[in-house]
């Protein structure tokens, strides 16, 4: 029997303290488990829950209860920040997550800078902040993970991506100005989530900032630099910081492990034990293939999950965004397997 609450266990792992077994979580944001099957059961549905704090909290609680994930993760999309910064967003449907309809600025050189204090108190940031505080009140024993969009991905959601990637090289001064601006907003958003009794941890996903897309030099100059700036702000509030980086990281390993994350999550193709063997200081999180979660039988999913636990992954979680058509039974097979796992031997 375990003596830890879900919140204690996750926070202990993020603080590099010993635990009985790894927690199994799903951060929200890009990696959310708002599957159609749950929403049809409970009637707390998307897209409405993207737009209203009470509904967002209700759906997040449903997901926690049905899936067995040992956290509550909000929001359920990656468009909150870009929408505030001006990009029109299509809020999607029950099955389909929100997306950026069009990036508002044609170029990094044309970004309009607005007042961060005002921005951070408007739009759907209020929805997410209110939901985090409501959830923390209702479930003090469960860690509330608030997921933000990474700085590079946010910037690439307000500037036409094709131009954006070129201008990272062509107009570095403008690029840094925009990344600073975006990071300031994200940091202010994180502050609001953490202030009072709110989120227990901040997670970010930065899918537009992979080593494969950017290469090591630009990855370091823009992704690592601004993710670390955000990390420092979150740490200054005494909260842990979880980072998910998509894609193959083999070309950017030294840069990747210089990210000041309390847990580092990667895509399914990465061997986390190998990464940890090479860089023992990192806390690993991951990385059950979401393709497997969608298509495989529960038995196979349980086996894959057991392997992750046996490999000593510190936090078990999906490796990427889940399909909204993933079966609840498959997710439950994953979470149940972790909870039944033999306790980690104490050093």
């Amino acid at each position: 029997m375990s003596n830890y609450t879900e919140k204690e266990r996750l926070l202990r792992v993020l603080h590099k303290e010993s635990v009985d077994r790894p927690p199994v979580i799903c951060t929200g944001g890009m990696m959310n488990a708002a599957i159609v099957e749950i929403m049809k059961k409970t009637g707390h549905t998307l897209p409405e829950a993207h737009l209203d704090a009470q509904r967002m909290a209700d759906l997040a609680l449903d997901i926690h209860e049905y899936t067995g994930f040992e956290n509550i993760g909000i929001p359920f999309c990656m468009t909150v920040e870009a929408e505030l910064l001006g990009s029109p967003v299509d809020h999607g449907t029950l099955e389909c997550e929100p997306k950026i309809a069009s990036e508002i600025f044609p170029s990094l050189t044309q970004v309009e800078f607005r007042d961060i204090d005002q921005l951070v108190h408007s739009g759907r940031i209020n929805v997410v902040v209110d939901a985090a505080h409501e959830l923390a009140r209702r479930r003090p024993d469960v860690p509330i993970v608030a997921s933000l969009t990474g700085p590079v991905s946010t910037a690439a959601s307000i500037v036409d991506p094709l131009t954006f990637y070129k201008e990272l090289r062509k107009h570095p001064a403008d690029a840094h100005r925009v990344l600073e601006y975006v990071t300031d907003l994200l940091a202010a958003f994180a502050d609001r989530l953490l202030d009072g009794q709110g989120a227990s941890a901040i997670a970010i996903g930065d899918p537009s900032a992979t080593g494969e897309l950017l290469g090591p030099k630009i990855f370091e100059e823009y992704a690592v630099r601004y993710i670390n700036k955000l990390a420092d702000r979150v740490h200054a509030k005494g909260a842990p910081f979880i980072v998910h980086i998509c894609g193959d990281v083999k070309r950017v390993k030294p840069q990747l492990v210089s990210i000041r994350a309390d847990a580092l999550s990667t895509d399914a193709m990465i061997s986390l034990p190998a990464l940890k063997a090479e860089y023992p200081h990192i806390t690993t999180m991951g990385n059950l293939s979401t393709f497997a979660l969608q298509w495989n039988q529960a038995e196979k999913i349980a086996k894959m999950t057991r392997n992750l636990v046996a490999d000593g992954i510190d936090i078990i979680s999906p490796a990427c965004g889940l399909s909204t058509s993933t079966h609840l039974e498959s997710i439950q097979a994953m979470t149940r397997t972790v909870k039944e796992a033999a306790p980690v031997p104490q050093p």
Binding site: K99, P161, L162
Partner: protein, 221 residues
């Protein structure tokens, strides 16, 4: 070919691979001023340079920003040289590709790279953009008698739309008329096989090799 032409082709290729758009334009104007064969300047200069950039991308020396800047340089040169290419040189029927990002997904960097590389590889590419419904791929392919439909997805959540394109082609009885290729971060060969696509490529240059192979198979069939 004159030494002067050879030198200029090499300089054009170098300017493209070095991502130098201004230099490429300058050299393209020189080629026109010297009365060089514009078609050769494109093929042996601009396209050769883009091929080199593609190889560097494959070797992971270049990444997305570099490949995009090389293509900008190439297209800038092309714009200057194109009016000087005799019409009949390019009259041969090019194989046609309909490309797009599947519905629900608005991440189009990968698709844009493949479009550029297919264009460089001699295909006529019709770009449907992003967030494209499955039926639109099929309708466009029918309309222009396309050889290939190329579908991209960057999200696990939208991959079923790719399978839907194949299903529509089957339902309409035209599955044999057009090859379907798929790509994008969450896509794999296993997934391509599972949904009955004709091919999968993990990187943009490989997509061109795949497209050429499928077209030649189709011609032989």
């Amino acid at each position: 070919m004159t030494i002067q032409a050879e030198q200029l082709h090499e300089q054009l290729a170098t300017a493209v691979v070095e991502l130098d758009e201004d230099r490429t334009k300058e050299l393209a104007h020189q080629a026109v001023d010297f009365g060089l064969d514009a078609w050769q300047a494109v093929e042996l200069g601009l396209v050769a340079g883009m091929d080199r950039a593609g190889k560097l991308f494959d070797q992971e020396e270049y990444f997305i920003p570099e490949l995009l800047l090389a293509s900008d340089a190439m297209y800038a040169g092309l714009e200057i040289l194109r009016p000087h290419i005799p019409i009949d040189t390019s009259a041969e029927r090019k194989s046609k590709v309909v490309i797009g990002v599947i519905e629900g997904d608005t991440h189009d960097i990968g698709k844009n790279l493949v479009r550029i590389m297919l264009d460089v590889g001699g295909f006529e590419v019709i770009d449907l953009g992003r967030d494209v419904p499955p039926q639109t791929f099929v309708d466009k392919a029918k309309e222009i008698d396309a050889d290939i439909i190329a579908i991209a997805s960057l999200m696990t959540t939208t991959m079923d739309g790719m399978a839907e394109v194949v299903r529509i082609l089957e339902r309409e009885g035209i599955r044999e008329r057009v090859k379907v290729i798929v790509g994008g971060a969450p896509v794999s060969q296993g997934f391509a096989t599972k949904i009955g696509a004709d091919g999968y490529a993990s990187r943009a240059p490989a997509a061109v090799v795949l497209a050429k192979k499928l077209v030649s198979e189709k011609a032989a069939a």
